[in-house]
């Protein structure tokens, strides 16, 4: 049973929330919608759920016009980024709510709810009030409520974004297990996120969305290795990919007085306005490297993010250890230039180290 959309557009104000969005989702697959905030992810999910009606375009599910089916008959499930539950019901009543709505036999409901509680690790919490649970537990309840329905389409709208770091890691791991466990066989899973790492870890089919427009569709690995444009490269990397204005001539890349030998996949590009893209993790500290000035050094977890500057070129370097630098310190770095990307002046990918286009 496929979920097919054609040219969905939604423009409630002067900005497109969805702009000619098309896709073809197949059952048993995980689709990740990657995009920054306000890129239209939630709008897209709400449109699929039926909470919003697009201005134009079509959605078909199982060969039938989905737009004609009201929300309550669509058999979709949705988990919001806020922890949405019914505050007047306890945990058990919350999870059984969608089943009760279908008038299923009480013993069947009990079994299903217990299964759902087991799969989200909340056995023993049946009689708790929602207000008595932590944020992570509340989100598990709303996940359980969406699992218990056996919905054909499961929508997860940034389900981890409001949780703290530790819980996010833990729940993400549980999500991956859940998704791989049979659930996925007959369900279309759609997961929206702003986090490139989450996208890579979930390892599904990725749809990169920006300003309501689909920029690129492909497996997570493909998006990571061959982003088709500067924008995708920015969105799919955290910290965003460094973009350096450079010139390539005589097999050398030149910028800000730095001159490095061009790797093979970049050597043929000689046009003007070329931009070189390099991930923050593909730059390393090196005594014999090029001198840059520290503008800001932030430590996040076990890595250090250095914001560096040389002339007009600003870059971010991430180093997998905790280092202390002061502002205006001079440090020397080396570029792993064979990992560099090149983009045309219009932002399209020119060459990638993984064989995209000219490589």
């Amino acid at each position: 049973m496929d979920l097919v959309a054609n040219n969905l557009s939604y423009k409630p104000d002067d900005q497109y929330h969805l702009n000619e969005v098309s896709f073809n989702f197949k059952e048993g697959n995980l689709y990740t919608i990657l995009g920054r905030t306000l890129s239209g992810k939630t709008t897209l999910l709400k449109t699929i759920a039926g909470l919003l009606t697009p201005d134009s375009g079509e959605i078909e599910f199982d060969g039938k016009n989905f737009l004609k089916v009201p929300v309550w008959e669509r058999n979709v499930a949705m988990v919001y980024q806020q922890f949405i539950n019914y505050p007047h019901l306890n945990v058990f009543e919350n999870i059984s709510f969608p089943l009760k709505q279908r008038k299923i036999d009480q013993t069947v409901i009990n079994d299903k709810v217990m299964d759902a509680l087991k799969s989200v690790g909340l056995v023993g919490f049946e009689n708790r009030k929602i207000q008595e649970l932590s944020g992570g537990q509340q989100q598990r309840v709303s996940l359980a409520r969406s699992l218990v329905k056996n919905a054909k389409i499961l929508l997860l709208d940034e389900p981890l974004v409001n949780l703290d770091y530790k819980l996010r890691e833990q729940l993400r791991e549980e999500f991956k297990n859940l998704f791989s466990k049979g659930l996925a066989d007959e369900t279309i899973l759609i997961y929206s996120t702003t986090d490139p790492r989450e996208t890579m870890e979930l390892n599904g089919e990725v749809i990169v969305l920006d300003e309501g427009k689909v920029l690129q569709v492909g497996p997570a690995k493909e998006i990571f290795e061959n982003p088709n444009s500067l924008k995708v490269a920015e969105i799919s990397n955290d910290p965003p990919m460094n973009i350096i204005e450079a010139k390539i001539s005589d097999n050398h890349i030149k910028f800000e007085g730095i001159d490095v030998e061009a790797p093979q996949h970049l050597s043929k590009l000689t046009e003007d306005g070329l931009k070189i893209g390099l991930r923050s993790s593909d730059i390393e500290l090196n005594e014999n490297g090029h001198e840059f000035e520290v503008e800001l050094a932030e430590i996040s977890g076990s890595e250090t993010l250095l914001h560096l500057k040389r002339g007009n070129t600003k870059i971010i370097v991430s180093i997998e250890e905790v280092l202390n630098f002061k502002i205006h310190d001079k440090i020397k770095i080396n570029f792993k230039i064979d990992k560099a990307y090149a983009f045309h002046a219009d932002g399209k990918l020119a060459s990638s180290p993984f064989g995209g286009l000219n490589g």
Partner: protein, 282 residues
């Protein structure tokens, strides 16, 4: 410091309690006095200070033929009009408020907020402005001096309060809760009844409380729109007054008229402190 704080706290509570309770004590003792005791200086302790008697209370239930005023019928009229008008106002007001909170209305330059303000504006106008239209309206449909007519007018007066409180309340109930109910298989009516309404009980209680209070204490419209057939309690109490002010029966009627509000206050207080929506969104 701490002891001083506790002392001041209790001192304040005691002073405040005296302020609140003293009028009740005054009314209660006065209701058992006769002309002599009322005019004989300040006295509070029955049997010691003055000889209590039940005349003030008896007047209230005696028929006019036997020299009483009989507030029993007006009392139940008031109860009936207030409760019916409040109930209808709450039902209509809640439905309107939900629509105003969740759906977008537009008629030219009139939008949701303007409609909400239109409701509230009914309460901004001084009652005297409304009295003539109400009088003409009720007389044109032959409902002057009737309970039904009073209920119609009170709904016009009370519904704005319900709309005003409930719009604000529904705006604070996350829309995602309704959406989740829809996704979970409720049609919009079920979503409202099964999910939104049970989470709106505190708002409903506040709105209900205000409707009951404003309905119960209204004198002005009850006075203008009724004559002989139907009388409401506040009008009847005012009618008690005569050339010699009957403090004893006035006190007694004040006590019986405030009783329902005290009962409402006790019930409401218990519900309000619960707070039902705190876990909806974090």
């Amino acid at each position: 410091m701490n002891k001083l704080y506790i002392f001041l706290k209790y001192f304040f509570i005691v002073v405040w309690t005296v302020f609140v309770v003293a009028p009740f004590l005054w009314a209660l003792t006065t209701s058992f006095k006769d002309f002599q005791s009322v005019n004989g200086g300040v006295t509070y302790i029955p049997w010691l200070d003055f000889e209590p008697n039940l005349e003030g209370w008896k007047v209230l239930i005696k028929s006019p033929a036997r020299g009483g005023v009989d507030i029993i019928e007006p009392y139940f009229n008031s109860l009936f009009v207030t409760c019916t008008a409040s109930l209808i106002s709450i039902i209509l007001g809640t439905l309107s408020a939900y629509a105003l909170s969740r759906y977008t209305f537009k008629a030219g330059f009139v939008k949701n907020n303007d409609i909400t303000f239109f409701f509230i504006s009914q309460r901004i106008m001084p009652p005297i402005v409304l009295s003539i239209p109400f009088f003409l309206f009720l007389s044109s449909i032959n409902l002057l001096d009737s309970l039904t007519g009073l209920i119609v007018v009170y709904i016009v007066l009370l519904m704005p309060i319900a709309v005003w409180i409930m719009v604000d309340f529904f705006n604070k109930v996350p829309r995602e809760i309704d959406e989740t109910a829809l996704i979970d298989g409720c049609n919009p009516y079920q979503a409202f009844l099964k999910v939104v309404l049970p989470n709106s009980i505190p708002g409903l209680i506040v709105a209900g409380m205000f409707c009951i209070i404003f309905g119960w204490i209204d004198f002005f419209f009850a006075f203008i729109l009724t004559f002989t057939e139907v009388q409401l309690l506040p009008v009847k109490i005012v009618a008690l007054n005569s050339s010699v002010t009957p403090w004893w029966s006035l006190s007694a009627s004040a006590l019986v008229s405030v009783a329902p509000l005290i009962i409402v206050a006790f019930i409401v207080e218990r519900y309000l402190s619960k707070g039902n929506l705190s876990g909806a969104i974090k």
